[in-house]
Structure formats: structure tokens, C-alpha cells
């Protein structure tokens, strides 16, 4: 298995177009928060990137279960947004940790880290899960869908995502990926949900900007999969 070349971070590719003035310098202003965090993670971040590979030709559903023990890392293979993924994880890592820190998929958000806010909701084999309370090793050979997997093949937003935009269903947007995953799971089971069913389906998702009414409207507007 060939290791893919290390992708440059945002900070490395970005040309700072900011200026130096009494309050700060141009290079300092050029850092993005994420690029800064990635680069300062230093050797461990490089190691993570090198260890992680994403390839599309492996049938994970027929793979044998890995021997799972700790505290050292063990190999972890699963299907992520339709693509087979092999990475490593320690027993202490949650699915949210692996998505964010090993696979660099930042759409999944950690809000409360205790299963109470729903921001980290993803689908595992089609059912919603709080990824902050899901041990990473527990998803071996399973099918995981994150908000990144909702976008249509041509790169456009899914009807649900577009409905959130159209209905102004967010302010800060931190809860949005979780709501989208809960609503996606609802539509898989219930193609024409009632308002009551929508409310129950997202009862595990909290929006601190209190956009709930717009969120419910947005979800209801995609009845029968029609593009709003």
C-alpha cells in the first residue's frame, strides 16, 4: 500500500495578502486557525497524515474483524461516504476524533462531547449516532456517512442542504451538520414526514442560536425529495 504524498495544509498554500501594521504582522495574519493548529501539531500531525490513506478499491464489508486491544493503535477499515478508508485508531479515540483529527473531515462538529447536543451526529449503517460517544474501533467494516457525504455527485448541495440555505435555517451553523444528518436519516425511513415526526427526529439536536423553527420549516420543505 503506497502512502499518498502529504497534502499541503491551507496555511502552506495560502499567500498572505495582509499587511504588517502596529497591531500585527503580515505572516501572522496569513495563518488560518486550522492551518496554525495543524502545523503546530508538528511531527505528530505529519505522522497522522502519513499513516492515513484513503483508497476506493477495497471491499470492507468482507474483511475480517481486526484484533482490538489497547492502548496501542490498531488498524481500522470502514466505508466513509462511499469510499473505503483504512486508518489507525486507539481504543480511546471516538469516531468524531478519527473523522476530525485523522481524516481531516471537519464537517462533523463536537459540541458537548457527551451526547447531549447532536452536533456530532453521523450515520452508521444508515442510522444516526452521536460520533462523540462512538468508539472509533466499533465502526470497523461499517458504513459511515458524514455531512461531507451529502453533497450530490456534481458537487451541488443536497435538497436538504439547499433547503437550509433557502430557509435561513442557521446563524452560527455549528449545529447544522448534525441537524442535516438527523433529517437525512428521517427521510430514509419516512419519505413524507409530518411536522411532529420532524420535531421528534431532531429532538436530539440543539441549536443555541434558536433557529429551530426555520430548521423545521427547511426540513419539511423537501417532502418527497423534491428540490425546494
Amino acid at each position: 500500500m503506497k502512502k499518498p504524498p502529504k497534502k499541503p495544509t491551507e496555511a502552506e498554500t495560502e499567500q498572505p495578502n495582509s499587511i504588517s501594521d502596529p497591531k500585527s504582522t503580515s505572516p501572522y495574519r496569513g495563518w488560518t486557525r486550522r492551518g496554525f493548529l495543524q502545523t503546530t501539531a508538528g511531527l505528530s500531525a505529519l505522522a497522522v497524515t502519513a499513516r492515513t490513506s484513503v483508497h476506493a478499491d477495497q471491499d470492507v464489508s468482507k474483511g475480517s474483524l481486526p484484533t482490538r486491544s489497547g492502548p496501542a493503535e490498531t488498524p481500522l477499515a470502514f466505508e466513509l461516504n462511499g469510499v473505503a478508508v483504512s486508518t489507525q485508531a486507539e481504543p480511546r479515540e471516538t469516531l468524531a476524533d478519527v473523522l476530525l483529527y485523522r481524516l481531516n473531515l471537519t464537517g462533523t462538529k463536537i459540541g458537548c462531547d457527551r451526547g447531549a447536543c447532536g452536533a456530532c451526529t453521523v450515520l452508521v449503517d444508515g442510522a444516526t449516532r452521536v460520533s462523540c460517544l462512538t468508539p472509533a474501533l466499533d465502526i470497523a467494516n461499517r458504513r459511515v456517512t458524514t455531512v461531507e457525504g451529502l453533497t450530490l455527485k456534481d458537487g451541488s448541495l443536497s435538497p436538504l442542504q439547499q433547503a437550509f440555505v433557502n430557509h435561513d435555517a442557521l446563524q452560527c451553523g455549528y449545529c447544522t451538520p448534525g441537524f442535516l444528518m438527523s433529517a437525512t436519516a428521517l427521510y430514509t425511513k419516512t419519505p413524507a414526514p409530518t411536522k411532529e415526526q420532524v420535531v421528534e427526529a431532531v429532538s436530539g439536536n440543539l441549536c443555541r442560536c434558536a433557529a429551530h423553527s426555520h430548521i423545521i420549516d427547511a426540513i419539511l420543505s423537501v417532502k418527497n425529495g423534491e428540490r425546494p
Binding site: 482490538r68 486507539e90 480511546r92 447532536g118 444516526t128 449516532r129 460517544l133 438527523s182 436530539g204 440543539l206
Partner: protein
């Protein structure tokens, strides 16, 4: 990344015999299934244990069945499975009402009834139901299976009478006689930990159990006796003050809980009273 979670030892059982064999030789391992309680403790450093056995994939511990007298619910049955079960809807609707209010769908897809019992939180929402239904816990170890009456399962705050090496594999619930009633009161209607939770059964006699108002789930025996012998609801509310002794904690106050518990008692009585007109 989190530091509180270092050095976990995570064994993955694929059969019940594997799990029990491991627990027999390493009884300090904590069984782990939906992780909705254990990982909260791990993420926040409240759990010092580092050795676990993951039993989530033991399909033999899943499922709901019935015979003439009992329901049997596998320990790993999730809240979602209970919500969708026609057997639960027919014979134990209060469990369905309860399961719909535990966490959100994300937690209902993972949380298990066995985990709710083993975790032993005083706020465990299914526990008052198991208390009024007088369930039996089926515990299994390499040396055999035993049935433990749910009402004697807790020895104190988060303490169970499970022996080292024993695993909860199922619960047996006698089909409850009479009208069933469940309510929980928390900060919001769903997805919140209970401040007070009640299950009631009204048949020839009355059974009542409360959660979040003591170190373990409590059967309100004095209150039951008043109502079962034809006493008034006012007398029952007085009796309740001798049955439960709620405390102040981060979620609520003793005074609020006592008032809510009394109100829930009245609501139970009103809504299970056959319409006289």
C-alpha cells in the same frame, strides 16, 4: 486530542461465551455496548476504569419476545428497537413512551436497556418501569444463569448485586396488570436527564415507582398502600413524603422535586381514573 482517555484496554467479544470467559478471568473489565453512559464518563474523566469488554456485537443478547406470562427483552435491545416493537406497544406501552424520551434518536439507536440497568443511575428512565412491572434480571456467568428480582438488584447508589464475572443478558417482565402510566420531567421535553421520573400501574392494586428522587429507583410502598385501600389522593400525597426523600443536586432542588413528584402522582391518578360521566 483528549488526554483523560489514555491507555484504554478494549477487548472485543464476538460471542457470549467469549465475553463470559473473559469476564471470568478478568472480572474488573467493564462491559461496554452502546457507550452512551460510559463514554460520557471517559470523555470527562469521571471513569477511572481502563479495561473494557465490548459486547455490542453479541446478537444473541438482542430482541424482544413474549409468552403467555412474560415479555423477554434482550439486554442489548436498544431504545429504538423497543419503540418499534409491536410486542412493547401491545404489552408495555409505558416502555415505548419512556424510550422515545431518552436522549434523541442518535442515543436511542445506541442506548440499551441492559446498559440502563447496569449503569444504575438514580435517573435511569427505564428503571421505574421495571420496578412497577416487577421485572426479573437474567444474569449469566460461566458458572450459570440466575434470576434476580429487579426490586433487589440495587444495593445502593450505583451499586448492583451482580457478582464478579456476571453479565446481564436479558430481563423478564411479567405482563403488567392494569393501566400503565409514565412521565418524566426534565429541563426540556426530550433529550434531557430527568429531574423526576415516575411509572405507575393501576389495576386491582396500585404500583408506583419514582426515579431521580433517591440513591436508587424507589417503589412508593406507603403511597401505593393508601391508594390500593381506597384512600384519597390527598392522603396519598401526604404518604409520598414518607416514601421519597429527594435531594438538591446540579439538576434540581429537593423542594422542586417533591412538589413535582406530588403533582405527577395526582396526574397519574386523574388520567388513570375511568371516566365517570
Amino acid at each position: 486530542m483528549k488526554t483523560a482517555l489514555g491507555n484504554l484496554d478494549f477487548a472485543d467479544a464476538t460471542t457470549l461465551s467469549e465475553a463470559l470467559t473473559l469476564l471470568a478471568s478478568e472480572p474488573d473489565r467493564v462491559p461496554l455496548a452502546g457507550c452512551t453512559d460510559v463514554y460520557v464518563g471517559l470523555n470527562f474523566g469521571h471513569i477511572e476504569k481502563k479495561r473494557f469488554v465490548n459486547i455490542w456485537s453479541l446478537s444473541e443478547l438482542r430482541g424482544i419476545s413474549e409468552n403467555a406470562d412474560f415479555l423477554r427483552i434482550g439486554a442489548l435491545t436498544t431504545y429504538t428497537e423497543m419503540i418499534e416493537s409491536p410486542i412493547i406497544a401491545k404489552f408495555l406501552p409505558m416502555m415505548r413512551d419512556c424510550a422515545r424520551l431518552i436522549g434523541g434518536c442518535q442515543v436511542q439507536n445506541r442506548g440499551t436497556v441492559g446498559g440502563n440497568i447496569a449503569n444504575g443511575s438514580p435517573a435511569g428512565d427505564t428503571l421505574p418501569i421495571l420496578a412497577v412491572a416487577e421485572a426479573m434480571i437474567i444474569a449469566q456467568s460461566l458458572s450459570g444463569t440466575r434470576k434476580i428480582p429487579f426490586l433487589s438488584f440495587y444495593a445502593g447508589y450505583r451499586k448492583t448485586v451482580l457478582l464478579p464475572g456476571e453479565l446481564i443478558v436479558a430481563i423478564e417482565i411479567p405482563k403488567p396488570p392494569g393501566a400503565q402510566w409514565f412521565r418524566k420531567v426534565g429541563t426540556r421535553a426530550a433529550n434531557a436527564i430527568s429531574k423526576v421520573v415516575i411509572a405507575g400501574l393501576r389495576g386491582e392494586t396500585v404500583r408506583l415507582a419514582f426515579g431521580s428522587v433517591g440513591p436508587t429507583v424507589i417503589r412508593a410502598r406507603r403511597t401505593e398502600a393508601v391508594l390500593s385501600s381506597g384512600g384519597t389522593i390527598a392522603q396519598a400525597r401526604d404518604a409520598l413524603a414518607h416514601d421519597i426523600h429527594p435531594i438538591d443536586d446540579l439538576r434540581s432542588t429537593s423542594r422542586y422535586r417533591m412538589q413535582v413528584a406530588e403533582n405527577l402522582l395526582s396526574a397519574f391518578w386523574d388520567s388513570t381514573t375511568p371516566n365517570q360521566s
